[in-house]
């Protein structure tokens, strides 16, 4: 009868870039083990929102918590919070001067001071998990986009995060590589990882998402379970948008 734990809490988030209001009063929660998918037209603020969750961008006003730690408190230790929040980027952002293995072990070794003989086997295990056991010594430039993104996911997992953020993880990929990345994400979702995902992959949404949040012009227009939202959207704007991508 354990009550669901709130992992991510976003409350009245507002972000202004110069004269542009990227986020206007966004509030929602992500519970432990939930997969929340954020969709919306480009410029709707979804990526900005994600980047505020680990404070790569700072909110203009409003609050964000990871568990009981405030991300938005300027005196809080954001670095400590980031250890627990993995992030996967649209352009992978692998470190090009390091092998796949060293990409994965860098943070555990420098941040958590994990010795090499523990970090390396762990990296091997993670690479196996994302289906790249044979690519340990490969440099990013010798990997395909899909393979790079899977290494990036393994790299984020190496810090044992409580929450994973995905910022359009398949947008930079060729169509035939999208599936291999989504499969890894599906596995993660099945294992109970808490995930906040910005993506338009509707197949993934139906298969894994608990909630789909539709954003437009910096606002949450509506949020619902995927089947409900896709087949029975409450707002005209949502229906219009979905017509374009379904």
């Amino acid at each position: 009868m354990a009550k669901a734990e709130t992992r991510v809490r976003i409350k009245n988030a507002r972000k202004v870039f110069g004269s542009v209001e990227a986020l206007r009063d966004v509030s929602f929660d992500v519970q432990q083990g939930q997969v929340v998918l954020v969709i919306g037209p480009s410029g709707s603020g979804k990526s900005t929102l994600l980047r505020c969750v680990n404070r790569l961008e700072t909110l203009t006003s409003g609050e964000i918590w990871i568990d009981n730690d405030s991300v938005t408190d300027p005196h809080g230790d954001i670095r400590k919070i980031r250890e627990e929040v993995g992030m996967v980027f649209q352009d992978f952002n692998l470190f090009p001067h390091l092998t796949a293995r060293d990409n994965i072990t860098l943070a555990p070794r420098t941040v958590k001071h994990l010795p090499k003989d523990q970090a390396n086997p762990r990296a091997r295990e993670l690479l196996k998990r994302v289906g790249l056991a044979d690519k340990e010594d490969a440099y990013p430039r010798h990997l395909s986009g899909g393979q790079q993104q899977r290494v990036a996911i393994a790299r984020a997992l190496a810090m044992d995060p409580k929450v994973m953020l995905f910022d359009e993880p398949t947008s930079a990929l060729d169509p035939e590589m999208i599936k291999e990345v989504l499969d890894v994400m599906l596995d993660l979702a099945k294992e109970g990882m808490t995930m906040l995902v910005v993506s338009h992959e509707m197949g993934f949404a139906r298969a894994a998402a608990d909630t789909v949040v539709f954003m437009d012009e910096g606002r949450v227009i509506e949020s619902a379970a995927p089947s409900e939202l896709f087949d029975n959207a409450g707002h005209e704007r949502t229906r219009k948008f979905l017509k374009h991508i379904l």
Binding site: N54, G86, L106
Partner: protein, 266 residues
């Protein structure tokens, strides 16, 4: 006319580096400018003492000390300049306004004063306060001057790394310092190696200025020989040829390095 000029000025920029004419890959034929200059200079340096042993053989015996001194000043200065440059480059991208301002002022001041004046200033002007040996003064002046230029190279190198690299490192829980040390700087090295090589060549040539402080470098040794033997033409011919051989040798090295980095880069 003025309108045409201003519109053209926006579109075009001409960069002339201080480095030597570096042979590009297209210039593979036997008679490239580099080959003609390099082997021509070596040929003359061998031929002249044979056809005219006096004074060329004597000059060739007199000069090697100066070559060593030139290398000593150049190598020590470039190493110190690299350290100063790294600190300055990091200062120039620092978000701390005091550090940032200090680094920027240093670069502006040093770049605005001719190296020869800096040499005089450190040896003679500051010499009234603290007396330092000539060679030390020369090395300090060269390092401080080239440190400013190196700072700009480091800054440009660090800025050329995509923003996502820093973000990825921070998102993993690394501090900015860890990210710089483990992610940004290792990638910077490969981009700044060629410009640093060019600075090395430029510094090697500029090191001839230290002869003005009576440091017995290559130029000074030639001058010493000339002033006792009155064989100015012959002495300075050898000095010029030796500089040319050294500079062309290193410019080739830099070009090869650039090529290799270009091939293995992503």
């Amino acid at each position: 006319m003025a309108e045409i000029d201003s519109s053209n000025a926006k579109k075009q920029s001409i960069t002339v580096s201080d480095g030597m004419l570096i042979p590009d890959r297209a210039e593979k034929n036997l008679f490239s400018a580099w080959r003609i200059s390099f082997f021509g200079a070596i040929f003359l340096l061998i031929l002249l003492p044979i056809i005219s042993p006096s004074p060329y053989r004597d000059i060739m015996r007199f000069i090697p000390d100066g070559v060593l001194r030139t290398f000593q000043v150049t190598v020590i200065s470039i190493v110190i300049a690299l350290v100063i440059g790294l600190i300055t480059g990091l200062g120039r991208i620092s978000r701390n306004s005091v550090i940032n301002r200090t680094a920027t002022v240093y670069v502006e001041v040093i770049r605005g004063i001719p190296l020869l004046v800096q040499l005089f200033y450190i040896y003679y002007a500051l010499g009234t306060l603290v007396q330092v040996p000539r060679v030390t003064a020369a090395i300090i002046a060269m390092s401080v001057c080239y440190g400013a230029y190196m700072g700009e190279i480091f800054r440009a190198g660090i800025s050329s790394i995509p923003k996502g690299q820093m973000e990825a490192a921070l998102a993993l829980g690394m501090t900015r310092r860890q990210a710089l040390g483990k992610v940004i700087l290792p990638q910077t090295v490969r981009t700044i190696l060629p410009p640093v090589g060019n600075e090395f060549i430029a510094l090697l040539k500029d090191s001839s200025l230290v002869s003005i402080l009576a440091v017995s470098d290559l130029l000074r040794r030639g001058r010493e020989y000339a002033s006792t033997s009155f064989e100015y033409f012959e002495s300075y011919t050898v000095v010029a040829l030796v500089y040319l051989v050294i500079t062309l040798f290193f410019s080739k090295l830099v070009a090869i390095m650039e090529d290799r980095l270009g091939q293995s880069g992503n």
